[in-house]
Amino acid sequence: MTSTALPRVATLAGPAGPTWRQRIRSVAEAAVTPLDLDDVLDVFAPLRGGAPLRGRVVSVSAETEQSSTLVIKPGKDWAGHVPGQYLRVGVEVDGVRLWRTYSLTHGPRPDGCISITVKAIPDGVVSNHLVRRVRAGQMLHLGQAEGDFVLGDPMPGKLLLVTAGSGITPVIGMLRNLYSKAATPALDIVLLHSALSRSEVIFGDELRDYAARGLIRLVELHTDVDGLLDVADLDDIVPDLAERATFACGPVGLLDALEDHHGSRGLPLHIERFRTELLAAGDADQTNVLTFSSGTTLEADGSTPILDAAENAGVLMPSGCRMGVCFGCVLPLREGVVRDLRNGEITTAAPGDGVAIQTCISAAAGPCHIDH
């Protein structure tokens, strides 16, 4: 069985031959074949070093009506993070493992746990599950920390943080890290945060507390009272805008507007985009581009099985019954949208989702990339 564990440090035998540890491991592997030793150890110690990265939910606490913070104890191989970074989280929803990315909302904690704060979006399958259904004690799958939305070293002395909605999550991680140390750093931070209403401001009390202590200048915009943030108003709200490094996280519209605004004036801007666009399925006669990891590219419409389309273009494809029964044609769909020709069901995939499709009964319903 394939293992999704981190690549281990090379366990090649040294000049004196295999070590005792390696010998014992070989014997153990020979004793549990065809299982991987990992599969056996997973029964007893799923959070051990060398296992695929997982985390146990320690607590789930509500932040607002729509959002909750999950504190997670990660497996031993958690390599740490810099505030502002995010991680991929895999969670089983209705039996299916789905992956999403969330910002880490605490700087490195003394208890070694990590936290994410999830906002339940309308019709959001994973977010609603995490906010409403996940309980302490349950296991999640994790990726290592990623992203470059970090303050950097040395930190800029004057900062403008522009956030909206759940875009506050990477920033709260930065702020908590800054103000949880013994020595308070001498920084000039303006936080401009836009939320639908006052009650919907995630971490509202905490932010107002930082402001009350004079640690940050907090400008709250509530859409129900103040309307949406207009980037043109920035100079009025923040007169010394040009002296500040801007970090922004929020909806696409806001980030695009900021890019234009700052770009035209040559001002430094770091942004974090949350990928929320869902791939949409096209109709049956739409022609789609199929790309393969071998480099081959071909076109196929929404009513031709990918297997047939690829074979007609000369690609050698695994196949079997050609009627969806035997699973002999399964290939990984790295990203894209496909339609099951038997019942019309749509399957979407993004990199890392681990989606595999039967090419004999799947047709492309959007651009697809297949690992083959």
Binding site: T4, D94, V96, R97, M323, C326, F327
Partner: protein, 417 residues
Amino acid sequence: MTVITKQDVNPTAHLTPEDIEQLGVELDAIRQDILDARGEKDAAYIRKVVDVQRRLELGSRAVLLVSVFPPAWIAGTVGLSIAKILENMEIGHNVMHGQWDWMRDPKIHSTTWEWDNASTAEGWKHSHNEVHHTYTNIVGKDNDLGYGIMRVDEDQRWAPFHLGQPLWNFINACFFEYGIAAYDLELGKNLSTPKEKRSEKFKSDARKTLAKIRKQATKDYVVHPALGLPTGSVLPILAANFTANLVRNVWSHSVIMCGHFPEGVETFERKSIPENETRGQWYLRQMLGSANISGSKLMHLMTGNLSHQIEHHLFPDLPSSRYAEIAPRVEQLFEKYGLNYHQAPLPQQVASAWHRVVRLSLPNGWLATTTPKNLPQQLKLLYGMSTGGPKIRRAAQARLVQLEKRQKAVAAEAKAA
């Protein structure tokens, strides 16, 4: 039973092409209902079975480390036998069918699962998922009809070595995991090809199979017994592993025989299957070519839900845990379309399957036309058929069949009179 197209009354004769397509629509609806309902509970089920099986196997092997004490030997061997059966049948066979691919768990997936058996997952998936499930019960195409070592249908030509098939069947049962490995490799066909002409694929598959056998044998007959050195349990552990493998082999062989061999399960003629079999036609063939076993929930679990062979053959990619649920709806469809839902308790089905193996070890019509009075002549005929060569066999076979037909006709007249 001969192929349906050669029977006096074809069991599908009363169905119009429209009936068959409608049947397909109704079966598709059952499948969609399960797809819509499939979710958290199903995932929890397979994870539970995997967890229980792994703990049972590890626990049993641990207990066997002190198997020099008879109670430990018995407990460990029973536990290990059950663990091996669970792994092969409810877990391995079903995972490799893709029944759990929808979970997107790379550890419980048809593309990564390697099962606790001498045969490779790759070999099994080809001969079972691709060949057997596509060409189910088509004489000449589905090699599961006898595995190449027996004849299980009148339309498979009789040859002298079939006389021994009850014995071959028994040996195959005892060493079934190796039988499967040989079968997946099409060993008979490939070994009779001269070495230079053997395909690269066969050579590569054979190497992989030998590697698998080596690993399995090392685990069961070298490493595990060696761990019993401190307690003096080396030989008991070896015996325990041999016994557990034997139990798994015989049990799984019996269950698999029940799937398609009981008397009354239909077979199909190659040339009667259309080039592009429709979904309805494929469903119909699966319905008539399979047989169920009735019994307790425990029996269903231990057969890997192959007791629901009909439901499995209709929907090989639905989670096995759902077959019991759809069985009443499927049986209703059988009734609606006037088809025979072949189902009986385990002992009955096993006996029926063995009956077929014994009956067809003899030429067609031989048993039916033999009486205590003419036994000596019949035996002489049988000897002649066995030693006389193909032409004599064919002629004698034809005569026997004719005699049987005449006998039947006379009996029918006598009854009517």
